[in-house]
Amino acid sequence: MEPLAIIWFVAIALLWTGYLLLEGFDLGVGMHMIFSTRSERDRRVMLNTIGPVWDGNEVWLITAVAALFAAFSPWYAALLSALYVPLTLALLGLILRAVGIEYRGKVGTRVWATFWTYMIGLGSAAVAFFIGALLALTSIGLPIDGNGDRVGGPFAWLSWPALVGGLAVVGFALAHSATFLALKADGPVRRRASGFAVRWAPLCLLPLLVWIAMVQFEHGAGPAGWTVALLAVVSGGVGWAQARAGREGLAFTGYAGTGLFGLAAIFLAMFPVLLPSTIDSAFDITVQSAAHSTYTLGVLTVITVVALPVILCYQAWSYWVFRHRVTPGMIPEPHVILPAILRAEDAGRQV
């Protein structure tokens, strides 16, 4: 097998893992904003913990999808066209969440803020669920024919693996972001998030473990896959113990480790299959059958090897710059906009 093709399989696995770990807490914070508090100030504390970094984190998704296209276009084409409806919903979620984060504070009325809170929360949930479904389906299988096209209509993707994968990423995002909020926020948000990380996080991580196990059985994984899967469980257990002990940094690391080892176990088990066909294993899309030319993969490799360390450095720097906890006292008053007009009758009152 072409070594560059294997490198690109690993690169794509890393991009998805980076996305899950970084956007995991962004998406989770979005969902927590709906149900963990009713206080406007607390919601703003939550939003500002991810404020400076969420947009950069989202690029991991864009790059992961672009890398599918650049290195294995048959994988990209089959997976995305088969999931037309769920991906449309994920895109709607991405759009509403992004716009919501930026626009939420732009008008200082209660109704406006509440509306965008729901858009951010529901959008985050939709993204987490459908991206999770996408990853689960590509690891477990879709009804695709010899050309890589979906057979069975718009809802042929709707299956148990899709549901488990969707819940896995939603659950992981909730657990991961609870430890993130406990680490990055202060005041009531920190207290409630710590409580969530102890009380509910184990339940939230359960679907992820089910998905990992499903992939191991599906692909008849060897000892390596099971070992990494075990590490995911252990890491989650350690995270839980640390959360109970109130050690926020270690709790965050532990839960993040569940995601990291979880995806590693999944990609390890599915290799070299990229997208199994549930119709006939002869139709499976594999690293061998889908990889692009050595030349193209070589070009991509050279540029990635140069660029990725730089990206990791400046993203790490951005986390360093904004390393301080967000406290309720840091949140400024809502923005009042007075029209800069003298003779208008409404001067002095908010428009």
Partner: protein, 526 residues
């Protein structure tokens, strides 16, 4: 409607909509970076206010561009899977490079810039904005490299399975079509940004005169005043708007000159690479060299008998296409048989293409779209450049005329370069039809690499799915456009104080606090 038609509308609408935000992001972003640089270098208050005010509008627009750009990344695979499989070896690379080299830079550093006020040293904070702006320019470059490869496929040879395989990435990255189109698009974006500044600054200067803050002496020179009771409407405020206006006017004019030069280069490449597009731009049925200023006829027709040219300028077309006056250009009637000879009459008879297999191929693009798209782009661009010159002349004494009509015209003028940009893209994309990857008959080497749009659509996707995304994305886009415009108008009406709560006295935080270690109120927060 059949699947291909819905898929094309779906792609066209989402892409054109995305491109409403993109040129403003690219043009305005660079201008805000210049303002910020001017502030850091000179320390003048007016440049700080300019940075804050225009930066706020920039961000309101930026986010919608990001959100709608995400859709682009997915829809090649979702709706155009055959296309993705065909071009994957070459087309995916610029997209991946765009993510790695542009989007990470843009998004990470914009986050640092937005939240970095008061937390970073001034120079570092400024550098973050420049990184973000450079990121958006680099992103424009890579996406245009990808698009230009579809217009002019280079750097590939046909593989064993009939699909192009990349052999020369340097040729792809330095594709002459890409370089011309990238510079053209960037200049076009500067026109958008320039006119945006001009229109809004005009409104504020007019407002100041209308409110009696600024007055004009007998020689027409401005006497700058201030309104004590309104935050931000002091003497510095006048400097903000007059500088913004004149800066915008100059950028718009320079941008237009740039689009003329690069557009001319593009025209000559187009004549060489896609002669049918050039002929369709002219609705030129028969060979000739006259540039038609106005043609009438049945707009939807691709039949030459339905088009009558009313006004023509002899010789110009040949110059546009080749650089020599009076050279004859091949017309649609002459080109069509050549295309049929080379590329056949029907879609290949393959089960993959379903009902579309064996369908007749129409080589003439929809002429009224190409014809009017071409003219709208050039005409509106010219109007903007003229507006810039007029604005510079009228504001030479330090303020705008008191006319309400002129103020409204300046505000309405903001829309013109947007329309020109959109018209240009619609022309260049629709003019490529019936190909999604256009063959270049007159250019050696790449002629055998082409793909019909009809053959590019996802075989497994149903019309219902495409309609679902067309309707759901379309309606969300519609609502969000209203929201964006509402916010832009609201913050514009608020003036500088809308972007600087410290002017209202709401926020007493020291913005320039260099150490950033204090646990104090954030100078920017969501």
């Amino acid at each position: 409607m059949d699947v291909v038609e819905i898929a094309r509308w779906q792609f066209g609408i989402t892409t054109v909509y995305h491109f409403l935000m993109v040129p403003l992001t690219i043009g305005l972003g660079a201008m805000v970076a210049v303002m910020h640089t001017a502030w850091v270098r000179s320390g003048q208050e007016k440049f700080l206010r300019m940075t804050k005010f225009w930066g706020k509008l920039y961000l309101i627009n930026f986010i919608l561009g990001v959100a709608t750009g995400l859709v682009q990344e997915f829809q090649f695979g979702m709706a155009w899977s055959e296309y993705s499989r065909f071009v994957g070896d070459v087309f995916g690379a610029p997209l991946a490079l765009e993510g790695l080299l542009a989007f990470f830079l843009e998004s990470t550093f914009l986050g640092i810039w937005i939240f970095g006020w008061g937390r970073l040293r001034k120079g570092v904070h400024l550098a973050a904005l420049w990184c973000a702006v450079i990121g958006s320019w680099v992103s424009a470059y890579f996406i245009i490299v990808a698009n230009s490869w579809m217009q002019h496929p280079v750097g590939v040879e046909l593989g064993e399975d009939g699909r192009p395989v990349m052999t020369d990435v340097w040729a792809v990255l330095t594709n002459n079509t890409a370089l011309a189109a990238f510079t053209h698009a960037v200049f076009g974006a500067l026109v958008v940004g320039g006119m945006f500044l001009l229109g809004i600054a005009w409104y504020h200067l007019w407002r100041r005169r209308h409110d009696g803050i600024d007055t004009v002496d007998e020689r027409g020179h401005v006497i700058v005043g201030q309104a004590q009771d309104i935050p931000g409407r002091d003497r510095t405020d006048h400097g903000v708007w007059i500088w913004s206006l004149r800066f915008g006017a100059i950028v718009a004019m320079v941008g237009f000159l740039g689009t003329v030069v690069t557009g001319d280069i593009q025209g000559k490449l187009m004549y060489e690479q896609q002669p049918m597009k050039m002929a369709a731009a002219e609705a030129a049925c028969h060979s000739g060299s006259s540039f038609s200023v106005l043609s009438l006829g049945n707009p939807g027709s691709t039949d030459c008998r339905d088009v009558t040219t009313l006004i023509e300028v002899p010789g110009v077309l040949g110059f546009l296409a080749t650089g020599e006056w009076g050279v004859d250009m091949p017309g649609i009637r002459d080109l069509e048989p050549e295309y049929v000879d080379r590329y056949g009459e029907t879609i290949p008879d393959d089960a993959l293409y379903g009902d579309r297999a064996g369908a007749q191929i129409e080589y003439v693009p929809v002429m009224w779209v190409t014809y009017w798209g071409f003219r709208l782009m050039i005409g509106l661009g010219g109007i903007v450049a003229a507006a810039g010159a007029v604005a510079l002349w009228l504001t030479r004494r330090g303020t705008v005329p008191g006319s309400r009509g002129l103020m409204r015209l300046a505000l309405a003028g903001i829309l013109a370069p947007f329309a020109a940009n959109i018209a240009g893209w619609i022309f260049t994309e629709m003019g490529r039809q019936p190909f999604v990857v256009a063959p270049n008959p007159a250019v050696t080497g790449a002629d055998s690499v082409y793909m019909y749009t009809q053959a590019a659509v996802s075989p497994g996707v149903t019309a219902g799915e495409l309609l679902f995304s067309l309707i759901s994305l379309g309606s969300v886009y519609g609502v969000l456009l209203v929201v964006e415009v509402y916010l832009l108008v609201r913050y514009t009406r608020g003036g500088v104080a809308s972007a600087m709560p410290e002017l209202i006295g709401q926020d007493d935080d020291d913005v320039d606090d260099p150490d950033g270690e204090h646990d104090d109120v954030l100078s920017f927060a969501y």
